[in-house]
């Protein structure tokens, strides 16, 4: 990892790449917002092709570094990566307007779908909604498999995951569970004074 990828300031254009105009940034982000179906890796490589390959705002390595950084933040990886890049390129203005530019297409579309599905009450529509409700369950199982793949396996992580399943089935507030689990991570370090994973892997989880 080169030293130039280290983040020292949040000042605009700190990647050392080309500095876009606000208009260009919003056009590119709007395009990703309209075409960025699917979330996760698919959209991340789309974002990469736009901001790295096409527009040279930052290097591949810097892009990976940003993705790694976002694993420490809550929220969707894709919008977080785009927010981080916009902020480094154009400051607060880029951050706020860039995020709005990515989100407005999906915002309008889902708003329309919400209103539409509430108004339409045909037997067909009921069937469509039942179908997608069921599919979501299958996809969530897939999400569990995919995310678990990125968690280093140990007695601790396995145990915490099982406790979280149980607590969630007992209807304990997930916000509380997240805070407790994070606290256990702190305790684990204080007791064992070792990283959870041997230092060879210096990348955080990067998938969606």
């Amino acid at each position: 990892m080169g030293h130039d990828t280290g983040i020292k300031t949040g000042s605009p254009n700190s990647f050392g790449g080309e500095k876009p105009s606000l208009k260009t940034l919003l056009q590119v982000y709007g395009k990703i917002g309209i075409l960025g179906f699917g979330g996760g890796f698919a959209v991340l490589s789309f974002i990469r092709s736009e901001v790295v390959t096409r527009h040279h705002w930052l290097t591949e390595e810097q892009f990976d570094h940003v993705v790694e950084m976002t694993s420490f933040a809550p929220g969707p990886t894709t919008t977080n990566v785009m927010a981080a890049i916009a902020y480094r390129l154009l400051g607060w203005q880029g951050l706020v307007l860039g995020t709005v530019a990515v989100l407005w297409p999906s915002f309008l579309l889902i708003l329309a779908l919400s209103k539409l599905t509430r108004l339409l009450h045909s037997v067909w529509m009921v069937g469509v909604l039942r179908g997608i409700e069921l599919a979501v369950i299958g996809l969530l199982v897939d999400v569990v498999f995919t995310l678990w793949h990125d968690v280093p396996k140990s007695w601790l992580t396995g145990g915490l995951a099982l406790v979280a399943v149980a607590a969630s089935l007992l209807d304990i507030n997930p916000a509380l569970i997240i805070l407790v689990v994070a606290a256990v991570g702190v305790l684990d370090f204080l007791v064992r004074k070792k990283p959870l994973v041997p230092p060879k892997s210096d990348h955080g989880p990067t998938s969606s």
Partner: protein, 175 residues
């Protein structure tokens, strides 16, 4: 009453945004608790919200828009969306300035992985709970299984949901 709903949406979705670690899907357990405990949506409607978040471009967190609209109309949708995205974006700014230092803090990786493990468990728990209230018969089970297999084979989620909707119109009409 309306203002109270908006305030409640904003407050709760700020929390969802602040604690939704593990990528966009980490928000689902938090959204479910917030949404169902306030009786904002039924379990079915909550699943619809997640599905709609998948077939639109953009991250699943956009389901907040759907929930907000059902609670308090267009303004509710706006408030919920702003709420859910504000904490992550602010934390990204903080990280941009302090990430190099944060990475050197001993133990930070332990906390990250412990949190991720917990979040995966939470999503699993929510999935079980949603499955119990949504799957009523064999056909339902088949829908779930087919979606899972399609997901494992890396078919895009939006395409799987669209197909499930079409198949639902045929096989689950009026059910």
């Amino acid at each position: 009453m309306f203002l109270k709903s908006l305030g409640s949406l904003l407050w709760h979705f700020l929390w969802v945004g602040a604690l939704g670690f593990g990528g966009g899907f980490g928000m689902i357990p938090l959204m479910k608790t917030v949404t169902l405990s306030h009786h904002w949506l039924s379990v079915s409607e909550f699943n619809e919200a997640i599905a709609m978040g998948q077939i639109t471009p953009g991250p699943v967190a956009i389901s907040a828009t759907f929930i907000g609209d059902r609670v308090a109309g267009t303004l509710g949708a706006l408030v919920a969306t702003v709420g859910v995205f504000t904490p992550p974006v602010l934390l990204i700014v903080a990280l941009t300035h302090w990430y190099t230092k944060l990475k050197k803090v001993p133990g930070v990786q332990n906390v990250l992985y412990a949190t991720l493990a917990g979040v995966v468990g939470l999503i699993a728990g929510v999935t079980i709970m949603l499955g119990q209230s949504i799957i009523h018969n064999i056909i339902g089970g088949v829908f779930v299984a087919v979606a899972l297999v399609a997901g494992r084979y890396k078919l895009p989620y939006w395409a799987i949901i669209m197909c499930a909707g079409l198949a639902g119109a045929v096989f689950l009409r009026g059910s």
